[in-house]
């Protein structure tokens, strides 16, 4: 629902991550890790990002999104497993006292820029 705000944050962080010694650069790709529980809709994020990144070093960049599964640990019996359904309790003992080990990520992993000298006159 708040994908526009997230898109703006991504642009800010990615822009700040371009090593200044490289001078003005165009970011080709942003690698993201987004958990299935992060309440982010990838298509909606791409749509917002495309609009928000215009006239920034990220204009036209691809958003590569790796969706991370929800992995939980039961605090009662220590069972660990990957979850597919939205609501859940321990598959071992039925307890709802769970720790979410992964699935809530919303991370920028890396950005990719074209090597200096290469593709200088190429498309984009």
């Amino acid at each position: 629902m708040h994908e526009m705000g997230i898109a703006l944050q991504i642009i800010e962080i990615a822009t700040a991550s371009i090593p200044p010694e490289l001078g003005p650069q165009k970011v080709e790709k942003v690698n993201l890790k987004i958990g299935k529980l992060a309440a982010v809709v990838p298509d909606s994020l791409r749509f917002c990002f495309e609009i928000a990144s215009r006239e920034t070093p990220l204009a036209g960049a691809e958003l590569a999104i790796e969706e991370t599964p929800v992995v939980a640990r039961c605090k009662a019996c220590n069972e660990r497993w990957t979850i597919d359904e939205p609501a859940f309790s321990c598959r071992g003992c039925g307890s709802g006292s769970l720790e979410i080990l992964s699935g809530r990520e919303l991370d920028i992993v890396s950005i990719e820029i074209l090597q200096e000298g290469e593709d200088a006159d190429g498309p984009r």
């Binding site: 944050q9 962080i13 309440a39 006292s97 991370d107 950005i111 074209l114 090597q115």
Partner: protein, 234 residues
Amino acid sequence: MQTVHDKGARREIKVVQRVLKVNERMAEENRRRFAEKGVFVVNVMSSPGSGKTATLQKTLARLMPEVRAAVIVGDVSTTHDADRLAVTGAPVVQVNTDAFGGDCHLAAHVIEKAADDLDLEAIELLIVENVGNLVCPAEFDIGEDARVVVLSVTEGEDKPVKYPTMFRTCDAAILNKIDLLPHLDYDKEQAVAYIRQVNPAMPVFEISARTGAGMDAWIGWLREKIKSKLKAKS
């Protein structure tokens, strides 16, 4: 952290940063600021129409003036909720998120700004009435001490399992509008069971903001929290 290495014709620059890091940092700053003043901050969330504002009106009427309280109210637009809460005599700051792009939640920087309009020295309790939404507010730490979710018996019993992140990250649940139970097919036991399924240890307060039924337990819980926070300050 940042390292640069080659990847074919492209150069990959490692970033490894949480997108919401800015919010998390700001939330920690808020938390420090509130702790310094001994202010207990409760983030109240729910779907629209669950009776958050009515519950808070009654809550303030019960606590004040002995507990000095203030409220930050988030809505996409209008000051209707702020007007209703101002009647209690508590200082109220209205935040309209349409200035922030019609945001579906309150973020930490919004709370920081709103708190500037309050005299934190003069209060022990800050209630934040979040934007009516069971999804997004759960993702944003605002620097609160406790999170409370309000649901009502006119909604589906399965709200807790439909919005598990919200119910899993909250410290207490209020089940409102219980005065309407005789007129509804609502299965209250099932609703509480769903809450327990997602968050077994969470206290559930069954109340009617309209009649005042069940308010004692909720007020008692809140008083305890306010007291411990004040004690931690001194």
